[in-house]
Amino acid sequence: MILAAIAFVVLIVLRVPIGFVMLGSSMAYFSVNPMMASIVAQRMGSSMESFPLLAIPLFVVAGCAMARGGIAEKLYSFAESLVGHWKGGLAQIAVLNSVFMGAMSGSANADAAIDARTIVPVMRRRGYSNAYGSVISAASSLIAPIMPPSIALIVYGLLTDTSIGRLFMGGVVPAIIIAIALMLTVRWTAVRRNYAPSREERASMGEIARSGWIASWALAMPVMLLLGLRVGWFTPTELGAVAALYAFLVGVFIYRGISWRDTYDLLRESAHTTASVMFIVAAAAVFSLILSLEQIPQMLIGALLAISENKYVVLLVINLLLLVLGTVFEGLALVVILGPLLIQVANALGIDPVHLGVVLVFNTAIGSLTPPVGTVMFTVCSITRCSIEDFTKEFLPYLAVLIGVLLLLTFVPPLVTFLPDLMF
């Protein structure tokens, strides 16, 4: 255990790629606590078998196809005609679109992949820094795992016997709060940086109508996808494939922007992005085995119950602990391993399981943005070619705001539980 921790730190300092850092420190652990010889390959292989993870490559391809095929450009031109006169207008759009994307995809990785590929290049052209755009894409993607339908909330519900309908309702208000908090932060940072509005004054109705007409094939995309989802043509994961195909076909036949060469390039870019992110997910699957084998979760529960009988004190400790664990462990893995154990603490202290679920999922989602290990951060940075260091610097104010929202949701449970209590 200690050996693994030392190996982890040493390898990080030596700039070994993160995936190999986790594999290396796991191997250090297994050298002292032998498992079967094939354990690393077994875990890496079976970590790929989760169908919801398929959303990552599918949405990465969809994002690339939208960007190269012209859909993204036209969508954002239209959006700009609506709010371009705001300070940091494009960044606001990036947050708002995640509210809608979040209502479709349920996965932060999927949403971040689309944003990073579609809106960041446009932002760069309008004078925003690459890191700023990257951070906005990443931070706004946190709406997706809270807004129903959310994969993480479903997983939590299944593992803890909590009503998924109630969990979904519990996510609605927090998702809106997160969106508002982010939009305020965007406004504040845009003012400080003097990111001017992209246009002097409000666009005329005629201008809006014109750019809307030009973007009609692009605007039809979210409408059709939402429709297809609601009438049950496809699941949220499958939506990624349908979206990719639609964006590609419109790019080829309507906008005529995609050549064979472009097709190859967009797929290559998607393959490399997916590989570098998924390799880390696979390595994390090996790494989190150490937590289990050391029976850390069980010890944790005992310790938590011993701390205090005040549920807010315990919730605060849980949050701090998860934020720390979230820096190096993968979010969904933490939900799976700790969710069922934390629910026992919640039951003992009278914490509403829906409240715990939303707080837990949001907390671990923040972890997917924090260095050194965060899959959403890696997805975004891999697409925008932003360095982890630049990303981190730019992310700090957003981290502060997100933690603020987390604490608000933790200490004011009705924000989460009011709606489900009303509806069920």
Binding site: L11, I12, V13, L14, R15, V16, P17, I18, G19, F20, L23, G24, M27, M36, A37, S38, I39, V40, A41, Q42, M44, G45, M48, E49, F51, L53, L54, P57, L58, V61, W233, F234, T237, E238, G240, A241, V242, A244, L245, Y264, L267, R268, S270, A271, H272, T273, T274, A275, S276, M278, F279, I280, A282, P371, P372, C381, S382, S387, I388, E389
Partner: protein, 156 residues
């Protein structure tokens, strides 16, 4: 020559695998809604294409310098020392990759029974592709080390 081979395995193959993945998932949606017939193998094929594109695409990602590391500490070092550390980190990656290959071989030889349920194919295929991917990673690291010693180590 080596670069072209790495490009083939690490970029061209993954491109086809990713395209196949999108098509297979879309075909499943089409089969269910329009043709109203089951497409059992879709799920297995998608998972297989996905894993293969990750293990092989990793070679390409390494080749294009897309594997994430934290360079913060290394950048504090003086130029000469930094080179040593960079070579060291390539060597560490090689060692870890060799260990993964060993694990993959152990998986291929011992996990005889598990199969993709709908396809009936053995699951060790995934481990075999993982081994190939790690082999490619080793070659990429060796190429990088050679380039550093030739004084072309621009990435240091």
């Amino acid at each position: 020559m080596i670069r072209r081979l790495l490009e083939l395995v690490g970029s061209v193959l993954p491109v086809f695998l990713i395209a196949f993945l999108v098509l297979v998932v879309a075909a499943d949606v089409f089969a269910r809604n329009i043709l109203r017939v089951p497409f059992y193998a879709a799920h297995d094929l998608a998972i297989l294409a996905f894993s293969a594109s990750v293990w092989l695409g990793l070679i390409g990602a390494a080749l294009y310098g897309q594997l994430f590391g934290i360079g913060f500490f290394v950048e504090l070092l003086p130029e000469r020392l930094r080179r040593v550390v960079v070579v060291l980190s390539h060597i560490i990656v090689i060692i870890i990759a060799v260990a993964v290959i060993q694990a993959a071989i152990a998986q291929i030889t011992t996990a005889r029974f598990t199969t993709f349920l709908a396809l009936g194919w053995p699951k060790w295929i995934v481990a075999a592709i993982l081994a190939v991917g790690m082999g490619g990673i080793i070659i990429v690291q060796l190429v990088a080390i050679v380039e550093i010693f030739r004084g072309e180590g621009a990435d240091a």
